[in-house]
Amino acid sequence: MAEDAFVISASMIPFGKYRSSSYVGLAVSPLIDALQRAGVQKSDVDAVYVGHSYGGMMTGQRITKEIGLGTVPTVNVDNACSSGATAVHEAATAIAQGLIDVAVVIGVEKLTQFGGGTLPLSPEDREVRQGIVMPAVYAMRATRYLYENDATVEDLALVSVKARRHGALNPFAQFRKEVTVEEVLAARPVADPLTLLMCCPTGDGAAVVVLASERARNRLGAGKSARVAASVLHSGQVAEGYRDMTKPEITYQSVRDAYAEAGIEPWDLDMIEFHDAFSIAELVYYEAFGLTEKQSAVSLLRDGRTTFGGDVVVNPSGGLLAKGHPVGASGVAQVAEAFWQVTGQAGARQIPDARWAATHVTGGGTAGLDHGACTVHIFEAA
């Protein structure tokens, strides 16, 4: 049946604010570096997949033409925060089906073009016209979660504290300064109960990974790699009425399918990079990832089971909260982190003997949907 696909190299720029760089300026360096580290020539590349949400027409081609990488198919992908991971999914799927041998995946976004504030959503959406913004969606999730569970705003703050502590170890992170629970709670309120330090920052970024078939990996003499053990993409399903915002069904479905495809159990994972756009998401996704059967989400967090030295390190990179969240780049950056961790290249934040890594992004504020898109990948050291 399907062939194995492998991530054979990854590069990215530190996420941050680069007002004097275009989409091209953000992406070309990591593109060149990723190709070089993979030992891949332009002529080896069979297809290019580019995730972005706000880059405009032909973003991918504008980037690849700078290094004369043309002719082969270039596919631009928009799935909001899942854009980059959807591009990875398309590349992995094409390799698994035997259609191509070498794929370049670029995730890139420039959010500073909007001058700050919340992420621009489509004004064609009814709730967007009513004034919904992403912090409000997650804040409502948080209000309900705190109402239904034995959790407090201090727990929401603790998520940010952990993210910043991880980010402090990561040279690719936008925020490298640690914060305390008190500082998080005292920060400017954004959408109650969420303060500014419980929200991911606005920023720019680009990340590139190279994927190859087993055949190409051997031919190229690639070193340590990350085997794509699962690549799952789901879309949201509309609910006209009640929806449990604390149990986002799109993530439950994606995670279930990913574990089945990879043939592993939740606690087999050494690390998960998941979509902590706002601190409440971390608690919600512990459960969605099947980590809470014996222990509640808040006790996992409080007991340090999801940080370095724990059982599964969640967001070793600092996650969206600390590493940053240039929407279309995030999914590829997560895969880069997984690749670096399972190949032992993660420096100060290296998880010893990391073998299994999962990545997860959801995307899109759309009326009636939990999220528009959700992508989950599982990688194994290879």
Binding site: G117, Q130, I132, P135, M140, A191, E240, Y242
Partner: protein, 130 residues
Amino acid sequence: MSVTPEAPVSVPIADLENDDLLGAFPEGRRLVGTRCADCGQTMIGDRVVCSACVSRDVSRVPLPATGVLYSFTRLHLKGEAVRAVGYVDLDDNVRTLADLREDSIPLRPDVPVELGFDGDDWFFTPATGA
């Protein structure tokens, strides 16, 4: 000999023509909903197709003026006054995003709420006796 019929023309839906969520009905001003005649699903807004059974046999209906607050937040956006918004599950199980106001009864999840008006603006507020 069978004749293949000519491909039919699809027509665009003028969904931008009336996107006001508030409408006038015999029972008074209510949020606008749409009910499917085939499967009975009720949806928010003026819609032309049922999202459950894909029937186009749908009609405009008033939604209940009462419901329960599922969750809420107070938004502190730069340059704007603090604004409370939430999801209200109306009595016919249609969920709507709504501006919220509170008087003597504080906002909290699961509090019964009712539709209120301020000129042309509408909002939900904890129901008296809640």
